[in-house]
C-alpha cells in the first residue's frame, strides 16, 4: 500500500499549479465581469487539458487519455486554488456522455459545446408522479406527428434538479404502448422553451422553494424533432442505462463526508458537549464509519487507476454514505438542542442567508433524508447489493415482469 500519487503525478501537479497561478486571478471582479472571466478561464483550462478531458476537441473538450490520478490531481489543485471546475450538472454528467456514446453526429454538434460552456442547462426527465423506483413504468406519452418529423409529448415529469434554470431536458417517454414495458420507451431530447411546456417549483420539506429547488414539468402537446431522439425508438431504457466510467472514481465524496464530520465535532464544542463521555463515544463510533468510507474510496480509486474491478463494495458506497448521514443527523439533533427551535434563514437553499448558529444543522438533519430517496432509493440500493453484489435471486414480481417466467 502506498497513498502517495507517485513522482509523475507530483510533476503534473506542479504544472497544474503553475497554470492556476497564472490563469486564475479573479481579483475583485464581480457579477457579469466575473462571469466572463470564468468563461475565459475555463477555455484556457480546456486548452491546457484540465477540463472536459473525455470530450473530443471538435466539441470543445480537451480530449485527453483516461487517467484517474491526473484527474484527481486536477480536482485537488483546482479546489485548493478555489478555481472553477467544469460547469457540472446533469448536462455535463449525463447528456454529454450519453451523446458521446449513443448520439448522432448532428446531436453532438448541436449540444455538446453549448452544454459544456454552460449555455444549455439540462433537466433530467425520468421520474414521474407514478414512476419512482419503478422507473420503467413511465407513462409520459410520445407520439409521432402525422408527417413523421416530430415527437408530440404529453404527460408529467417530476423531481427535476435545476428545473427553473433548465433550457433542455433529456427524457424517457413511452412511444410503444403495446410493447413490454422496458421495450416501449424512447430517449428523447427536448427544448423546454416552448408553449407546450409548463414548469413549477416543488416546495420541499426543508421549506426550500423558488428558483433553486426541484421542479415538476407538464407537457401538453410539446414537440421535439425526430432527429433529437437518442438511440433507436423503443430502446430508450438501454440508452438511459449508459454509464460511462470516464474518470468517475474520485475521492471527492469522502472528503465531503470528512468535512461534515469535522463540523459535527465543532458543533459538539460549540454547544459545550465535547467533554460529555456519551457524545465522545458517539462521535468516535460514527467516525469509524466515516473513516471506513474514506479508506474504501481510496480502495476504489486505487482499483480504478489500476484498471481492476473492486467487486461488490462499489455497489455499497451510496447506501453507506446515506446511512452515515443519518447517524450524523441523529447526533446533530441531540447536540443542537433548543437551537433547533429556530429555523435557520434560507433553510436548505442556496439563497441569501445571514449569520447562522447551531440551528444551521437543521439543513443537514432534514437534507440527509434526501439521500435516502434521490438517485436510487435506499431500499433499491439494498436490492442492488443483495442481487448484484451477493448474487441473491431477484424478487419474484420483478423476475416475472422481466419475462423470466416462473422462477
Amino acid at each position: 500500500m502506498d497513498l502517495s500519487y507517485g513522482a509523475e503525478a507530483e510533476a503534473f501537479r506542479e504544472d497544474v499549479r503553475s497554470f492556476l497561478a497564472a490563469a486564475w486571478q479573479p481579483g475583485e471582479r464581480r457579477k457579469a465581469d466575473l462571469k466572463d472571466y470564468i468563461r475565459a478561464f475555463r477555455r484556457q483550462a480546456v486548452e491546457a487539458g484540465y477540463l472536459y478531458r473525455s470530450v473530443p476537441k471538435r466539441y470543445g473538450g480537451a480530449e485527453q487519455p483516461v487517467d484517474v490520478i491526473r484527474a484527481q490531481v486536477i480536482r485537488e489543485e483546482f479546489a485548493r486554488a478555489r478555481a472553477p471546475m467544469e460547469v457540472g450538472g446533469n448536462g455535463v454528467n449525463m447528456t454529454v456522455p450519453t451523446l458521446l456514446e449513443k448520439g448522432t453526429d448532428e446531436q453532438r454538434e448541436l449540444f455538446i459545446r453549448k452544454t459544456i460552456e454552460g449555455e444549455y442547462v439540462w433537466g433530467q426527465g425520468y421520474s414521474e408522479p407514478g414512476s419512482g423506483s419503478d422507473l420503467a413504468s413511465v407513462r409520459t406519452k410520445g407520439e409521432l406527428s402525422p408527417d413523421g418529423t416530430r415527437w408530440i409529448v404529453n404527460g408529467q415529469k417530476i423531481w427535476t434538479s435545476q428545473g427553473m434554470q433548465s433550457t433542455h431536458m433529456f427524457m424517457l417517454v413511452r412511444t410503444e404502448p403495446d410493447a413490454p414495458k422496458h421495450d416501449g420507451i424512447t430517449y428523447l431530447l427536448i427544448d423546454l422553451d416552448q408553449p407546450g411546456v409548463t414548469r413549477r417549483p416543488i416546495r420541499q420539506m426543508t421549506g426550500e422553494e423558488g428558483d433553486h429547488t426541484f421542479c415538476e414539468f407538464f407537457f401538453d402537446n410539446a414537440e421535439s424533432p425526430v432527429s433529437w431522439q437518442v438511440g433507436t425508438r423503443g430502446q430508450g431504457w438501454q440508452v438511459s442505462r449508459t454509464t460511462l466510467k470516464h474518470e468517475r472514481a474520485a475521492i471527492g465524496s469522502a472528503d465531503g463526508l470528512g468535512n461534515q464530520f469535522r463540523k459535527l465535532v465543532d458543533l459538539a464544542k460549540e454547544v459545550g458537549r465535547i467533554g460529555d463521555p456519551l457524545v465522545r463515544d458517539e462521535l468516535a463510533r460514527i467516525e469509524g464509519f466515516v473513516l471506513s468510507h474514506r479508506y474504501t474510496s481510496f480502495r476504489l480509486f486505487s482499483c480504478s487507476a489500476a484498471g481492476e474491478d473492486p467487486g461488490r463494495v462499489a455497489l455499497m458506497m451510496k447506501l453507506y454514505l446515506t446511512e452515515i448521514g443519518h447517524e450524523m443527523a441523529l447526533l446533530a439533533q441531540e447536540l443542537v438542542g433548543e437551537h433547533a427551535f429556530v429555523e435557520p434563514a434560507g433553510a436548505g437553499g442556496r439563497g441569501p442567508r445571514g449569520p447562522r448558529g447551531p440551528e444551521k444543522w437543521l439543513d443537514q438533519i432534514m437534507g440527509s433524508l434526501g439521500n435516502s430517496i434521490a438517485g436510487g432509493a435506499s431500499n433499491i440500493q439494498r436490492n442492488i447489493i443483495g442481487e448484484r453484489g451477493l448474487g441473491l435471486p431477484r424478487d419474484l414480481a420483478l423476475e416475472l415482469e422481466a419475462g423470466g417466467g416462473r422462477a
Binding site: M1, L3, S4, A284, V313, M317, L319, L392
Partner: protein, 332 residues
C-alpha cells in the same frame, strides 16, 4: 498510489485459506472444542510450514498489513491459536536488544517455540498451556518475554471461545527478559499492532458470517422459494455486507499506517479495533438470525464465530475503551 491488495497478498491469503480448509474442517473444530485442549499441533505445523512465523521480522519484506491479511483468514476459518501471539512475539523479540530473548527467535519464527500473549491486565491467556514463552506487559509499563514453567501458574477454565481456549494465568518470580522498558515507544507500537491483528481477525469472521448467511439463503427454501429471494431477508443480508465490507479498508489503513510509521497509526489501530469488534458482534448476531433454527444449533458451528466475537470484543480493551482513547488522541 496503491490501496488495494497485490496478487502476492491475495496468494498469501489463498494459501492460508487452502491450508486451513484441509487441516481445520468443521469436524476437526468440533472435536477440538470438546477436547479440552488449548492447542492443535497439526494445524499449527501446517500454518507454520507456510512460513507465517517470520512475517513481522524487520527484514521480511512484509509487514503488519501482510500479518493482518493472515489474521483475517484465521478469523474467517476460526483457526486455533496462538497465531496473533506468535506473529507479535517475533516482531517484539526481533526488535529488542535482549540476547536471552533473541535466543528464542529462530524457534519462534519456525513455530517450534510457541508464544502466548499476556498483554494488558487480563489474567486470561490463549494457548497458555502449550506456550513456552509469554509476551507480558502493556503499552505504558514496558514489555517482557517470560519463560513458561516455574513462577507461571496456569489454571484451565471452561473457555467461551472454543477455537482459542484461554486459561487463567498468574506470575510469581518467573524468568523474565525485558524487551522494551516503560516508556519505550516500541512497547506502545507493539500493542497497536495487536489491536490491528485482532481487528483483522474480526473482519475475517464478520465476512465469513456474511458469506455463509448468503450461501444459506440461496439454498434454504421456504414457501417454495429460496429464502434469499424475500426482500426482508435480502435487505438484512445486504446490511451485513454493508457493515463488514467497507470496514475492510479501515483495517488496511491501520496496518498500512503502522508499517509506514504514520503519525495517526496509534489512533487508526484504536479505531479499527473498536469498529471491527462492533461489526463482528453485529455480524454474528445477524448470521444466527438469518439462518434461523439451524444457526442456533451447536452442530452447525456458527456458535464458534459468535464465541470468537465475544472474545475479540473484550480482548485488549472493549470498543468503548478504545473510543475513549481515540477521542483523547483526536484532542476532543
Amino acid at each position: 498510489m496503491r490501496f488495494h491488495l497485490s496478487e502476492e497478498q491475495i496468494a498469501i491469503q489463498d494459501a492460508v485459506r487452502g491450508t486451513l480448509a484441509d487441516c481445520w474442517p468443521m469436524e476437526r473444530l468440533h472435536k477440538f472444542a470438546d477436547s479440552g485442549d488449548d492447542f492443535d499441533p497439526d494445524s499449527w505445523a501446517a500454518l507454520m510450514g507456510l512460513g507465517l512465523g517470520g512475517i513481522l521480522l524487520p527484514d521480511s519484506g512484509m509487514g503488519l498489513l501482510d500479518a493482518a491479511l493472515v489474521s483475517e483468514v484465521a478469523g474467517e476459518m476460526a483457526a486455533p491459536g496462538p497465531l496473533i501471539a506468535q506473529l507479535l512475539a517475533v516482531a517484539a523479540v526481533a526488535r529488542s536488544g535482549s540476547e536471552a530473548a533473541r535466543a528464542h527467535l529462530d524457534g519462534l519464527v519456525a513455530g517450534t517455540t510457541i508464544a502466548a500473549l499476556a498483554l494488558g491486565d487480563s489474567q486470561f491467556v490463549q494457548s497458555a498451556r502449550a506456550a513456552q514463552v509469554l509476551l507480558v506487559g502493556d503499552r505504558d509499563g514496558g514489555i517482557a518475554l517470560v519463560e513458561a514453567g516455574e513462577g507461571v501458574t496456569i489454571e484451565p477454565v471452561q473457555p467461551t471461545d472454543r477455537s482459542r481456549p484461554v486459561s487463567r494465568v498468574s506470575f510469581a518470580g518467573a524468568i523474565r527478559h525485558e524487551l522494551f522498558s516503560a516508556g519505550d515507544p516500541l512497547a506502545a507500537s507493539l500493542c497497536d499492532a495487536a489491536l490491528v491483528l485482532i481487528a483483522a481477525d474480526a473482519l475475517g469472521g464478520a465476512l465469513h458470517c456474511t458469506d455463509i448467511s448468503v450461501a444459506y439463503a440461496k439454498e434454504r427454501e421456504q414457501f417454495g422459494q429460496p429464502s434469499g429471494r424475500f426482500q426482508a431477508l435480502k435487505h438484512q443480508l445486504a446490511h451485513m455486507a454493508l457493515d463488514a465490507e467497507p470496514a475492510r479498508a479501515l483495517v488496511w489503513y491501520a496496518a498500512y499506517a503502522w508499517d509506514a510509521g504514520l503519525p495517526d497509526a496509534a489512533r487508526a489501530a484504536a479505531m479499527a479495533k473498536a469498529h471491527l469488534c462492533d461489526v463482528y458482534v453485529r455480524s454474528t448476531r445477524a448470521a444466527v438470525a438469518a439462518h434461523g433454527g439451524i444457526g442456533y444449533t451447536w452442530e452447525y458451528g456458527l456458535n464458534y464465530w459468535f464465541r470468537r466475537a465475544v472474545l475479540n470484543r473484550a480482548w485488549l480493551g472493549s470498543p468503548a475503551e478504545h473510543r475513549v482513547r481515540a477521542a483523547v488522541m483526536a484532542g476532543w
